[in-house]
Symmetry: C2
Subunit: 365 residues, 2 copies
């Protein structure tokens, strides 16, 4: 097989080592003689796995004891409903900081369950995070919701907002486990696993215990954090294999040197791409303000700030020919997007920046 | 590896052939050069898979054109909320035929969203399906809910109820694809995949089109059948690998000869076990009325109708020693449970009945 460089935004590249483990465990999980795929979720085998993965999460992120770690089906979008269903009852209103397509979707879903206050002005061009001094926070909000990293627009928080005591809720679907985090500054952190920590099928939710027991009576049991916590994430049959893959990826992160190493790599890898863009004399164009540029997802245009369809098509075609794949920008914004998640290697990024330089040399006026 | 006979109730045994396919596809899905685990859900690769699996479902069950086939995260229990969230708005009330632990749970979840009418008398001993002439159906109900096969209590419908024009909704989590079905008699059929058609992480939902567009405004998007149908089950990142495994299992069913063959096998395999029970002079005891005995899950007691803890423990221990595994009855009912799903082979069942006969010979008074 040729070496394939997968820059997809999600489901995203997994480490080679994880595939080797999955292959070796497929029909004999942990010496049980059978596959995890056909193992009871009430078995000792699964109970141990369930506990082990919670412990890896707790150790990697240094999660304080007063936070529960939950595994829930339905991905990040399931949590867009779960967040208000579990939290908005306190005051009936919530603050949303909309900085891209995903926080926009989260705010829209929340409107089903209460009043949503938009903290920053509405826009359809997301290119940064408005200065916190301009935010209109509601002191009566049940919570403040942010999206830590906007996968489509490439806008990432480089700071933890001060919410004046109102619980901060962060969707970290695309930058979970890319850096250390002071979890105690958050009420809830959640994310789908299919970008930086596994494949699709499960959301990881970290919730402060005092925020439990507030779910609306209409909350479906499978989205109810309190019920999930009481049942140690085994209320019903969990998405066990997706949880297992997440565990194997997290263990890989530990072996690589933990979150400090992931953060160091992310800074280096993303800088390599941004540097080519910055040094291209405007041939490549990154729309996001420098202090909010994502280290995970790098959207850019070719030829002009609004892109050039023909050149971008040619770029993608040439990239495919070199096995640089899944680089197409999201249909909402067009252009190119390179995702440089944890599992993307320096070799992958080197191949990309080398191609970007060659392409610019060939096509720049 | 020794030959292991897995009688687990779910996540349940998968066919050997499916593991071979999963292994061969793990890091090169369908010639793409990468794993499905890291493939975009918007890629041509996944769009084809998504369509292909819907087609296999449609062909196997002969699903009429006016039904949508949906893949939704959150399993059967997710659908316990989704059913009322999508259907109860029409009249605000729903009929539940409670014949075991699962339909009991479904009815409980539905109470969050409207009035629930219990069609048959409440009981805590589920040993059959009360004759339909005794049912108290509400002609004003938005729908009538049944559980086609109660996994814990081993109670299976051997008929399709006449609901006098009210849409019939059936949870078939544990007998989906075990027999042919006149889908046109149902409004909705749903089930988690982890018993007869795959592993955990996804529910298969078949819904008649005229029942769409009725969801309550508070329905989370990920549980909304109308939104899911409009997005062809790719609203958000689906639980792709669980869906893929379901597809490979369904294709295996086709290769085995389809649902007629599955039904023939299920009748034969379950009869082999029930026959040992019936011919044991009361040493083994099956609590369920003969016409409602499940062909998928066979709960039984040893020594007396209420069981004998010591003997049952010894039975399980001896079974384990012969690699007859996951035979322990559900904690709600105790005793023994043998599940004889599609992937359980005649060799497996032969090994079980041979052990049952030996054990009875040794211990019967």
């Amino acid at each position: 097989m040729p070496n394939i460089h997968n820059f997809g935004a999600g489901p995203a590249k997994l480490p080679e080592e994880v595939y080797e483990i999955l292959r070796s465990e497929l029909t004999n999980f942990n010496g049980s003689g059978i596959s995890l795929l056909e193992t009871s979720h009430r078995s000792a085998t699964y109970l141990k796995l369930n506990t082990d993965i919670q412990n890896v999460v707790r150790n990697l992120l240094n999660v304080p004891d007063n936070y529960k770690i939950l595994f829930i089906a339905g991905g990040g979008q399931g949590q867009f409903a779960a967040v208000p269903l579990n939290l908005i009852s306190r005051t009936g209103t919530a603050d949303y900081v909309v900085t891209g397509a995903w926080s926009e979707k989260a705010a829209k879903e929340a409107k089903k369950y209460g009043k949503v206050n938009l903290v920053v002005p509405e826009t359809d061009k997301y290119t940064g995070i408005p200065d916190q001094s301009s935010w209109k926070l509601d002191p009566n909000a049940s919570y403040v919701h942010i999206c830590g990293n906007e996968t489509i627009h490439g806008v990432e928080f480089d700071f933890i907002p001060d919410t004046k005591g109102v619980p901060l809720v962060a969707d970290m679907s695309s930058n979970f486990m890319s850096k250390k985090l002071d979890v105690s500054k958050f009420g809830v952190i959640y994310g789908g696993a299919q970008k930086n920590i596994g494949t699709s099928g499960v959301a990881l939710v970290i919730v402060r215990e005092d925020l439990l027991n507030k779910a609306l009576p209409i909350c479906p049991s499978i989205l109810d954090w309190t019920i999930t916590a009481k049942n140690d994430s085994i209320l019903n049959t969990p998405p066990m294999y997706a949880i297992h893959i997440m565990g194997r990826v997290l263990e890989w992160i530990v072996r690589q040197g933990g979150l400090d190493k992931m953060a160091e790599n992310a800074t280096k890898k993303s800088s390599m791409v941004y540097d080519v863009i910055e040094n291209s004399n405007g041939f490549y164009y990154a729309p996001v303000a420098k202090n909010s540029r994502s280290k995970m997802n790098i959207p850019f245009r070719i030829g002009s700030p609004d892109g050039n369809d023909a050149l971008e098509k040619e770029f993608l075609k040439g990239a495919e020919a070199l096995n640089l794949i899944q680089l197409k920008g999201h249909r909402a914004v067009g252009g190119i997007r390179a995702s440089t998640y944890n599992a993307v290697t320096f070799e992958d990024v080197n191949a990309l920046v080398s191609y970007m330089k060659d392409f610019a040399k060939k096509h720049a006026k």
